[in-house]
């Protein structure tokens, strides 16, 4: 299941494990295969969460989708990697792929992810409405400088200015 802040959506990207199609521009290639493919035309890459941001810099301008693989939902490296990628000015789509749980959805969005792709088995237990509800748990947060959501420190500042 693929979903973004509005809910479930279709995946237009062709996975590495699906039959390679003629139309290559929406092929999603594994990072391990990317380097070996000199004529790479794909615009999507799936990277391990251990990749160093420095290794990714050369291709940031070429890709439209970066999927960061979460091996386990408890492995939070993907959140920091997403932050680093966004900090480099990457404007394409950022996807979290793996067994994340709905309670992490808001975190993922705030770290710069646009969408989350979870295995079907997880999606069966946790349909999109649960994800959307979980994402709305907090109406505001304490951290400044994160992508989405209302920030309490800025709200306080506004309240002070209004006084």
């Amino acid at each position: 299941m693929l979903l973004d802040a509005r809910g479930a959506k279709d995946d237009v990207w062709i996975k590495p494990d699906q039959v390679p199609q003629v139309q290559a521009s929406h092929r999603l290639v594994l990072w391990e295969d990317w380097a070996g493919d000199s004529e790479v035309q794909a615009r999507g890459v799936e990277i391990p969460n251990t990749l160093k941001i420095g290794d990714l810099l050369p291709i940031l301008g070429q890709v439209e989708l970066i999927a960061i693989r979460f091996g386990a939902f408890t492995d939070g490296r993907g959140f920091s990697l997403a932050r680093l990628i966004r900090a480099q000015g990457y404007k394409g789509t950022l996807r979290a792929t793996g067994p994340l749980i709905p309670d992490q959805f808001a975190y993922a969005l705030r770290c710069g992810f646009d969408e989350v792709e979870v295995p079907d088995a997880n999606a069966n237990r946790q349909p999109p409405d649960v994800w959307l509800r979980a994402a709305r748990s907090f109406s505001a947060n304490y951290q400044r400088g994160y992508a989405t959501g209302v920030n309490i420190l800025d709200q306080r500042r506004l309240a002070r200015a209004g006084r």
Binding site: F73, T74, I101, D103, Y142
Partner: protein, 560 residues
């Protein structure tokens, strides 16, 4: 103290509802137990030997009388009438039910409290000097900074799934009473030598547990207003590079140890240099807003000496002793901060009954402006007592068994719950603490021995801080038997040190005798006015080890 504004209030309420929803999803099976575990841990709920355990945060150790009364109510309604204060400025309840947890969180939210991140692989409840704001040796009150960190670390989108737990401690004083060097990050307030601007010495990679380390300085001076951005840099380096292949090597102390403090510092500074710090740090008005809550109360103008106190001390030696041992110098003339020992002889260290809590809350209102503190030594503190009120306070405390005069002495033992409650324990710690306290109960003898920190942990996780006890006791299991390993020379002060093992493990009943031997060597070797730890440092471990060895051999001969 800090009071929630509408945003804080809404945040904790939303947190309660979020957890209610999570519990419901666990019960209907949409969350697996594996998925639910980190969520319940981040709300302070552990599964223990006999039941769930709920750990409630007492951020930087500051509590109001109203909050203490609410804890008493929770103890009565959802527990068995008592709570346990821990070495991390938390309070634990040992008998709540999972289905009651959201309601308990609701009761806590009613008094501006929560269990957020008291467990789990996230930034934990931030701790501070328990004399913050009243200590005479203080540059400034560390609690506004702690509150800033508390808010910033709550439900952090990036740092809630760290390799392992992460503990931050702050002190604003010259003497370290917050054990900052045994934390993942320790912050020591300092002044810049030239400008005298306030800032922090930043220490990382301290920790106890199975591989104890004293933290290392990575920044001598960090300007105060840059703190959050700098913390973000440290956390990001740790989140990305901390080990995740082995839970026992996942703390930041291991990363710092493996790559070296220089390399760690370079990574942090490189990340910090890249950050847009202005977009992260709070604006000065926000810092001032928080600081205003911690402004010193309007102290009465009092003479430094109280004639009433002097007279009462002359007439009543037991009272005088209590004042001398449990009193702590206050920065305002005529006031004193009083440590109330939760270490009555033969009691469970850190336990308090609901009756004691209510009574204590009343005394807090009557004698200390409604505010109290919880110390990592598992004692309570009344921070703002007038000297002239000490005698009636002492009399009232005595009625509920709270007037024990042993703060900092050998019977003021820090002990974790151990095998009586904890599922990870390899041995009991509470009965050992009780046996030692009983052995050394004589007040004259205790006073003669003087300051001595004795710490007991029921397993290698070191929740009782045994590594930094002057004498540390670690309960292990050997061939199905409890076996206690004794360490000597640990220090939790600004001269932090990890104690050394002095010999083979002992059975529980042999422990008090062994402590006797160590104390005897000290009494024999000490110089005028020299406390236990100073003697250990001066003469070294050898004489103690020899006496210990002799004792162990005696036990063997006796058994043979």
């Amino acid at each position: 103290m800090y009071r929630y504004d509408e945003f804080d209030e809404r945040f904790v309420r939303e947190r309660v509802e979020q957890f209610r929803d999570e519990v419901a999803r666990r019960l209907d099976g949409s969350l697996t137990e594996d998925e639910f575990r980190p969520l319940r841990l981040k709300n302070g709920l552990y599964l223990q030997l006999h039941a769930y355990m709920l750990r409630i945060a007492i951020p930087y150790g500051t509590l109001s009388s109203r909050q203490l009364r609410q804890l008493a109510l929770i103890a009565d309604r959802y527990d068995r009438g008592y709570g346990h204060f821990t070495t991390r400025q938390n309070i634990q309840f040992n008998w709540p039910k999972l289905r009651d947890a959201p309601d308990i969180l609701g009761l806590l939210a009613d008094v501006e409290m929560h269990c957020i991140q008291t467990s789990g692989n996230c930034i934990r409840n931030v701790t501070a000097d328990h004399f913050a704001g009243v200590a005479a040796d203080e540059i400034d009150d560390p609690r506004p900074v702690c509150e800033l960190i508390r808010q910033w670390s709550s439900a952090h989108p990036e740092f809630s799934y760290l390799p392992r737990k992460f503990k931050i401690a702050v002190t604003g004083a010259l003497h370290d009473r917050a054990v900052v060097k045994a934390h993942d990050i320790g912050l020591r307030m300092v002044r810049d030598r030239e400008t005298s601007a306030k800032g922090f010495e930043v220490i990382v990679g301290g920790g106890l547990g199975r591989t104890p380390f004293v933290g290392k300085v990575i920044r001598d001076f960090l300007p105060e207003d840059e703190l959050l951005a700098y913390l973000e840099a440290i956390m990001r380096v740790y989140n990305l590079e901390g080990r995740r292949d082995n839970k026992y090597k996942a703390r930041v102390k291991i990363l710092v140890h493996e790559i070296g403090v220089e390399a760690f510092r370079e990574k942090v500074e490189a990340e910090y240099a890249r950050l847009d710090v202005a977009s992260i740090n709070p604006d000065p008005a926000e810092v001032e807003r928080i600081a205003a809550y911690f402004a010193p109360p309007a102290y009465e103008k009092l003479p430094a000496q109280s004639t009433a106190l002097d007279a009462a001390m002359k007439l009543n030696p037991a009272f005088a002793e209590w004042v001398e041992i449990n009193g702590f110098e206050h920065k305002a003339p005529g006031y004193v901060a009083v440590t109330v020992s939760l270490k009555g002889i033969g009691e469970v260290p850190g336990d308090m009954t609901s009756d004691q809590m209510r009574h204590f809350a009343d005394l807090t209102d009557r004698f200390s402006l409604g505010e109290l503190r919880v110390s990592h030594n598992q004692n309570l503190i009344l921070p703002d007592v007038k000297k002239k009120d000490l005698f009636p306070l002492w009399q009232e405390l005595g009625k509920f068994g709270l007037a024990t005069a042993n703060v900092g002495l050998i019977t003021d033992i820090i002990a974790c719950p151990g095998l009586d409650y904890c599922s990870l324990a390899t041995a009991r710690s509470i009965p050992i603490a009780q046996a030692i306290a009983t052995r050394f109960a004589d007040p004259v003898r205790q006073r003669d021995i003087g300051p001595l920190n004795l710490n007991i942990s029921g397993c290698i996780n070191a929740c009782g801080h045994h590594h930094v006890g002057h004498i540390g006791i670690l309960g292990l299991e050997k061939r199905g038997q409890e076996s206690y390993q004794i360490t000597l020379g640990g220090d939790s002060s600004e001269d932090a040190a990890i104690g050394d093992v002095i010999g083979p493990g002992l059975t529980g009943d042999a422990v008090p005798g062994a402590i006797e031997r160590l104390v005897a060597i000290y009494l024999q070797e000490r110089r005028e006015g020299e406390p236990f730890i100073a003697t250990v440092k001066r003469i070294g471990q050898a004489p103690f080890k020899a006496a210990f060895q002799h004792y162990v051999e005696g036990l063997r001969d006796h058994a043979a």
